[in-house]
């Protein structure tokens, strides 16, 4: 299983060579979860996840073809949850995400199992002054363009 189309160092090479489209349309920038495993090994102390963040932002802003639209949808659902509740409501994020992906039945048995073990809450954990947080989202990159 190879989920990244370029290894992280190859994405950096694309950037150095000015191959903008290839870098911004790569799958790697979305598959990277910023675990920092690469940055602690980098002898030049390059903050690799921070550059991946910048490439992700550029890809969204420039409207290039997103290699992993599903992952963008997932991030949008997480941010939507924070906008509504100030915190993440996992059950709702997953249900909305699966609907948007048209994966109606994927993980349904897992979801039921988690509910039966009380691993998922039916109602969100919501902050009191949610409007303070919601305000941040006016005009943010979250509102589903993809």
């Amino acid at each position: 299983m190879r989920a990244m189309d370029y290894h992280p160092h190859a994405v950096f090479r694309l950037v150095q060579l000015g191959l903008r489209k290839e870098a911004l349309e790569s799958s790697t920038i979305w598959i990277c979860v910023s675990c920092n495993t690469c940055s602690i090994q980098c002898p030049a102390a390059i903050d690799i996840p921070a550059i991946m963040d910048a490439l992700r932002h550029m890809a969204v802003e420039e409207g290039v073809k997103i290699a992993q639209p599903g992952i963008v949808k997932f991030h949008e659902e997480v941010l939507g949850s924070i906008e509504r509740y100030g915190r993440t409501h996992k059950l709702e994020i997953m249900m909305r995400y699966k609907v948007r992906m048209r994966q109606w039945f994927q993980d349904m048995d897992l979801g039921l199992k988690m509910l039966s073990r009380r691993k998922l809450d039916l109602t969100p954990s919501k902050i009191h002054r949610v409007e303070e947080v919601s305000r941040l989202f006016a005009g943010s990159a979250k509102d589903g363009k993809h």
Partner: protein, 291 residues
């Protein structure tokens, strides 16, 4: 070391506490067991009033200003006279990174202080539970030990917790802490290859097809090393290891706070274990750690 608990001299140490979304919801068992452990060790956790999500992986992936403002609101809520304790390794990084921006960039600080209408102390100590734990003398841990973990074979799993971005390179590192403490409490800690392998984080939700082989490799490695259970520092790692393993032979994953609470004789552990998707009860019964 911001929190120097000394036996006999100070009875209780006050800490602000940021649970984060996982511990507040899907991982209540980690939260409850952490409370028990802190009680036994004389730490008084005061939950940060009206805390919000740190932004998780999604804010920094999608929007730079959200990645600063979401954690900054939490920083503005924290009283500066006591350290802020964070249990989730990922929330810890988000809060520390926001604090770094605020302390190095006066404009960003002014912007966030104006936005939240509260001062933000750039010198606020933000500590992971491990940092507090590593400052507690072994004698205090041993004094709290009620149920030695005798014979329990564990592998420590740090996931990405030990890897930090270059700007946080000088923050404290906790390599070896799980092994050290669990060995001290009677368990047998085994060497294995996957203690710092990423669990896949949100890909477990967004792309299970990518997370499954990662998780299988980790669990398979633990089984091969002869472990009876995996002890993890992160509630999300714990969840991912439990839900994305498709191997026939799987072993339970316990949050570090659960196993500490067990060793310290905390009540209510059966309630936590019921919430696991890989049941740890048969193992713990066989080891005579629960009845």
């Amino acid at each position: 070391m911001p929190v120097p608990p000394k036996m006999g001299s100070i009875d209780r140490i006050d800490l602000s506490y940021f649970p984060g979304c996982s511990l507040a919801t899907t991982a209540k068992e980690s939260n409850e067991s952490l409370m028990k452990v802190c009680e036994k060790l004389g730490l008084n956790l005061i939950e940060l009033e009206d805390w919000n999500c740190c932004g998780s992986s999604s804010a920094h992936s999608m929007d730079k200003s959200l990645a600063l403002s979401l954690p900054a609101r939490n920083l503005s809520l924290a009283p500066s006279n006591r350290p802020l304790l964070v249990m989730c390794p990922s929330c810890l990084h988000r809060l520390q990174l926001a604090q770094r921006v605020i302390s190095e960039n006066p404009e960003a600080r002014l912007q966030e202080e104006t936005r939240w209408g509260r001062p933000i102390d750039p010198g606020l100590k933000i500590v992971h539970f491990f940092e507090v734990l590593s400052g507690i003398e072994p004698s205090r841990q041993e004094a709290a030990l009620v149920r030695p973990l005798r014979g329990l074979k564990v592998v420590p799993y740090y996931g990405c917790m030990l890897a930090r971005p270059p700007s946080l390179r000088k923050e404290r590192n906790y390599h070896g802490l799980i092994e050290k403490i669990l060995t001290n409490l009677g368990a047998e800690s085994l060497f294995w290859a996957f203690s710092a392998r990423c669990c896949g984080t949100f890909l477990s939700a967004a792309r299970p097809d990518i997370a499954v082989p990662l998780v299988n490799e980790i669990i398979g490695g633990a089984v091969k090393a002869g472990a009876e259970c995996i002890v993890t520092a992160c509630a999300m790692c714990q969840l991912n290891l439990e839900i994305r393993c498709t191997l026939e032979e799987r072993i339970p994953t316990l949050h570090f706070s659960e196993i500490l609470a067990l060793a310290f004789g905390a009540k209510g552990s059966r309630k936590w274990f019921k919430r696991h998707l890989v049941d740890p009860v048969p193992l713990l019964k066989a080891k005579k750690l629960i009845q």
